[in-house]
Amino acid sequence: MLCGLIWAGAQSYIVHNSVPNWYIASTDAVVNSLLLAAACWLINNNLRYYQPASGSYLNILIWHGALAAICALGCRWILPLLTSDSAYNKFLINSIFIRAFIDFLAIGWVGMISIIYYSLLDQKENEKRKAEAEKLARDAELYNLRQQLQPHFLFNSLNSINALIGFKPDEARRMIHQLSDFLRGTLKKDDQLLVPLTDELNHLNLYLDIEKVRFGHRLQTEISSDERAKAALLPSMLLQPIVENAIKFGLYDTTGDVTVSIRAEMDGSFLNLIIQNPYDPQTSRPKHGTGFGLRGVQRRLYLLFARNDLMETYANDNIFTTIIKVPQL
């Protein structure tokens, strides 16, 4: 606004030098400034929603030129309607190129500022999202670590090893290796955000094998995946909390045998992961599906892919199903 006023003031002064009539000079300045402001607003608004690719700067230049021409021609047609001074009209026609050029400079200047400003804003937004995604990956890692170091997993596993040492030393040794491989895998995953499904499943298998030693008779797992899905990428440690959840509810919610199934398949450009476990709707309905585990997974998917519809849960017939869709970029 202030800029506009100064601009108009300066212009009326310049015009006054050529045409010694303040009324004409200021009308000229106001009309010209308004047209210029409209053009600048147009450019600014367009650039807010459309960031030019680096190749299309020529396009922008042409646009700026066209807008400047329109401004200058606008002055050329509008101003004679407002004044009837022939000397001024002559001056107007003479100065049209200078006007067009100055308009072009002004519009170009605003356009440039807009491009820089909005691209900075965009970049900031992206960085924020990325930083949050990374933070969440770290949180997930920490959460997983804490899960594994919590009594129910680590100490019960050690207790099982303690039992095995007495009469099945070979199995005890095997379990120690599984446990250490698993813990090492958990620690190592901090530097890569996306991992192939096979890697994630291998890691998961270590965990499942340990749980099977603990609950042997009760726990069964079914893991299957498409050939194509095996190479698909997914955020590391994404499945872990879901499977842990499935096992926890399967084992502590029912007293019978428990089958946890994991199925991976490709659906267009999505990797679909389907995890199922039995549960008891009578006793666990209130808390199911709201734990940090599942919420953390949903939040991570949102931050990585900017979509909220990638995780779904269903509960029916005593089976709880979690479906995850991971877009393949």
Partner: protein, 246 residues
């Protein structure tokens, strides 16, 4: 000869106890149980002297199982809970063993029990333990016995609780269930954001209240969604106003 039960949902964990117990010829293991239900049945059937009890088990945990036993035996907990959680019952159980525990520690626990017997002392201790301890699941559900069956009531289904002689009646849409506990116990274990003791003999679920009417001098009546009218005492009304933020 002491008669014992081992209740744990992990077979290998039971095996450790069995193995360590071989050093004690005076203790006979009657049965190994897979979960709380089996444990409950076995305790009622055998009336054992001693129970080795895990805390986290399917459906009902060790504490909840003990709550349902009429004359609880002496208990040695075998659990992987950390020491923070264990403090709650540290003073009252015969002993607690943190998994994985070694033979020496196990021997100490069993010798402590053997030194303590005769049995009734143990039982009294267990009851004391149940009255003062808070198991991790008690905020979420109430376990009751109806006949021979065990019923698990999610706290969301509870409408109100009423004192009934030495028992407390738990009212749900499916009817009322008796629980061998005091009002004080429920006041301590139920989440105070959702349950308020509005009267010496009544506790209500806040969600269930539709209206509070004045009733006689200083007293009120809370009308619940199910139609029940619960007396609210003067102090109960103050508490209720606090929780509801009015």
């Amino acid at each position: 000869m002491k008669r014992a039960l081992i209740i744990d949902d992990e077979p290998l964990a039971r095996m450790v106890v069995m193995e360590y117990l071989q050093d004690f010829s005076q203790i006979e293991v009657l049965q190994e149980c897979n979960d709380g239900f089996e444990g409950l049945k076995a305790i009622q059937q055998y009336q054992p002297d001693l129970v080795f009890l895990d805390v986290q088990m399917p459906k009902i945990n060790g504490f909840e199982m003990l709550e349902l036993v009429d004359n609880p035996p002496a208990v040695i907990f075998t659990t992987a809970f950390d020491e923070y959680a264990i403090k709650a019952f540290e003073a009252h159980a015969v002993d607690y063993l943190l998994k994985p525990f070694n033979k020496d520690r196990f021997h100490k626990a069993v010798e402590k029990y053997l030194a303590q017997a005769p049995t009734p002392a143990g039982s009294k201790k267990t009851e004391e333990l149940l009255e003062t301890s808070n198991s991790p699941a008690q905020h979420e559900r109430i376990v009751v016995k109806t006949g021979t069956k065990v019923k698990i009531i999610p706290v969301q289904d509870v409408q109100y609780l009423a004192a009934d002689d030495d028992y407390v009646s738990v009212y749900t849409p499916e009817g009322s269930f008796l629980k061998n506990k005091t009002m004080n116990f429920f006041e301590r274990t139920l989440d105070p954001r959702y349950f308020v003791r509005v009267h010496r003999s009544y506790m209500v679920a806040i969600q269930q209240i539709t209206r509070i009417d004045p009733y006689e001098k200083d007293a009120h009546l809370a009308i619940l969604k199910c139609g029940a009218k619960i007396p609210v005492s003067k102090t109960g009304y103050v508490k209720l106003k606090q929780v509801l933020g009015i």
